[in-house]
Symmetry: C2
Subunit: 347 residues, 2 copies
């Protein structure tokens, strides 16, 4: 009997039938049956998407138990950790427990991997949440997950703590896209530069903009200012509320003496920052929205509303070799690695 599932995972969609797993409301998370082209993972840790984790914290408060309950509830309802408000997920690390016989993959049972597809489409069966890390969007869990045939994953590197690798891999799409977008001499503005994708993007932006280019960082708190100054690869950093479009724009212009950005990279984890990004970009400049809190209509109509001819790009969480690239840049810069170790290393 053939028990081969759909390569995209449609065989696990409960509701609405026929949809792909990501847009679907509910997935079948029964991990006792494994299709021949699926992989079963024993889950160790979830890295919740920043926008989702922030939303949950805002909803239930800074309480580990309540956050755990809310996460359990979402997974019970949907068969996946797909935040119904933000629409986003996150990723996981775990150990390969079983490999369907029709699956041709370069891992074996017992290997430790990170999934690089969103939790918003990954069937997840949570037994319990053992610990919530309020300050780094991660939770330790007991449970199982399913990876589909088209699912992307990476073996965890052995030269760094797994919580650090997970934090880097979670935002692996952003730095490689930054490398594609930034050219020598560009003026680059990174909005939300204090966050983990922010610092990675700043580093890559400076690397590709070069000595004649300029990278400016917009951050939310004074603490991020000193962190970024210590890292040493941004040319300027300023504190502003990215939701205050005109105020942020005026501060940016003061720093650059009236020059607008060639490339704006938005990696903020709160909504309503589209206009700041658009205002700060030059005519025919590029705005890269990596934040899951971005609203499509606010961006599209916002640019139109002020007659701004900019190219706006939707942050794709996947790009060829993105995981290797993200790990590589952290390895090549000791200060960057130090920061990730400090923020995400197991204490």
């Amino acid at each position: 009997m053939s028990v081969r599932g759909d390569p995209f995972g449609r065989h696990r969609v409960v509701e609405p039938k026929g949809k792909l797993p990501q847009p679907a409301w509910k997935l079948d998370n029964d991990t006792t049956k494994l299709y021949d082209n699926e992989m079963l993972i024993e889950v160790i840790k979830l890295n919740v998407d920043a926008a989702s984790f922030t939303q949950i914290k805002n909803e239930v408060g800074l309480d580990e138990k309540k956050i755990a309950e809310r996460i359990m509830q979402i997974v019970r309802e949907r068969g996946k950790l797909h935040n119904p408000v933000t629409g986003s997920g996150g990723m996981l690390i775990g150990i390969v427990k079983m490999i369907g016989k029709d699956l041709n993959v370069d891992v074996k049972v017992g290997d430790k991997i990170a999934t690089l597809v969103s939790l918003s489409l990954t069937p997840l069966n949570l037994k319990k949440i053992k610990k919530v890390y309020l300050d780094r969007d991660q939770v330790d869990v007991e449970g199982e997950a399913i990876l589909f045939e088209t699912g992307v994953f990476a073996r965890l590197p052995e030269d760094m703590p797994e919580s650090v690798a997970l934090a880097i891999l979670d935002v692996a799409g952003a730095p490689i896209q930054t490398a594609r977008l930034v050219s020598p001499s560009d003026l680059v503005l990174v909005i939300g530069a204090g966050g983990k994708s922010g610092v990675l993007c700043c580093y890559v932006a400076k690397k590709y903009a070069g000595p004649t280019g300029k990278v400016v960082a917009l951050v939310h708190s004074e603490r991020s200012v000193s962190e970024l100054e210590k890292l040493g690869f941004v040319d300027d950093v300023f504190v502003s509320d990215a939701q205050e479009a005109v105020g942020s724009y005026e501060k940016f212009l003061q720093i650059t003496r009236g020059r607008l950005a060639d490339v704006v990279i938005n990696v903020v984890n709160v909504p309503d920052t589209e206009m700041t990004s658009i205002l700060c970009a030059r005519e025919r400049g590029k705005v890269y929205f990596f934040s899951m809190a971005t609203s499509f209509t606010k961006a599209a109509l916002g640019a139109e509303g002020i007659g701004k001819d900019v190219d706006m790009i939707i942050g794709n969480g996947y790009a060829k070799n993105h995981a290797e690239f993200a790990l590589k840049i952290v390895r090549e810069n000791p200060k960057l690695y130090e920061l990730f170790l400090e923020r995400y290393g197991e204490k």
Copy 2:
């Protein structure tokens, strides 16, 4: 006394204070006072955004009176025609009634213009709705509107009916962006090709893909098939439900004998078509989302979920010279003009 308003229109924002007019919930639509850098327009006709008009029709039914009531209600509540469900607006035509003394514009009182900024940020004071055109997303109205200093508008051309010009100008962003994205020999898929931006994009795509390129049209109904075949500038057209991602993808592959699209242009006016667009694009291909029904997270996570390395672009309603370009392409192709006249000309 200076009564100069903010160039972006923040002085008209009632709630929440300090926001820009587009993201704001409510605007001050008092047209009896005019700031020195504003223009007062006597509104003749609204062209409601297709996604918004479809949503309203689905909500209240195909009833002219109920649609009119719903539009009046939105404008009463928000001071602008900003559909709270779709987040989109539309545009208007009207006659310049008064020009603030600080405004330096190339029109005079009495000129007929179309605003090229979204109704979602345009203060609108509707007295009444005189007629609803169910089949072309337009309504005839009595009322007044305000254009801000940064607002974009175009004088209405004299060589075509105003309802036709309005229909073209409403989607002026799409064809010029298509011209920027398509290169010779490209395989282009236009999803929602039967709609007005669809036919414009098909024409432009074929023009720039050239004789060695190929333009394939996905449409919703058989009627659109015969229309597009009569127009003669698409290489292939097929009927499919764009919300059925895998089914549409399989049909597309059959037509192209397994080749994926270099450029996918999505101009569908219903939600949940992101995955169809992503599946049909080749690795490193481009997906251009012009539809206001696009979800940012569904696109971003959808591509990641199947490990597809595509560039996804948010349709900007504005581009330099977009209005002139859109009118020009309709003028240069008699069959296209004929179609617009038939669909949008006053009977």
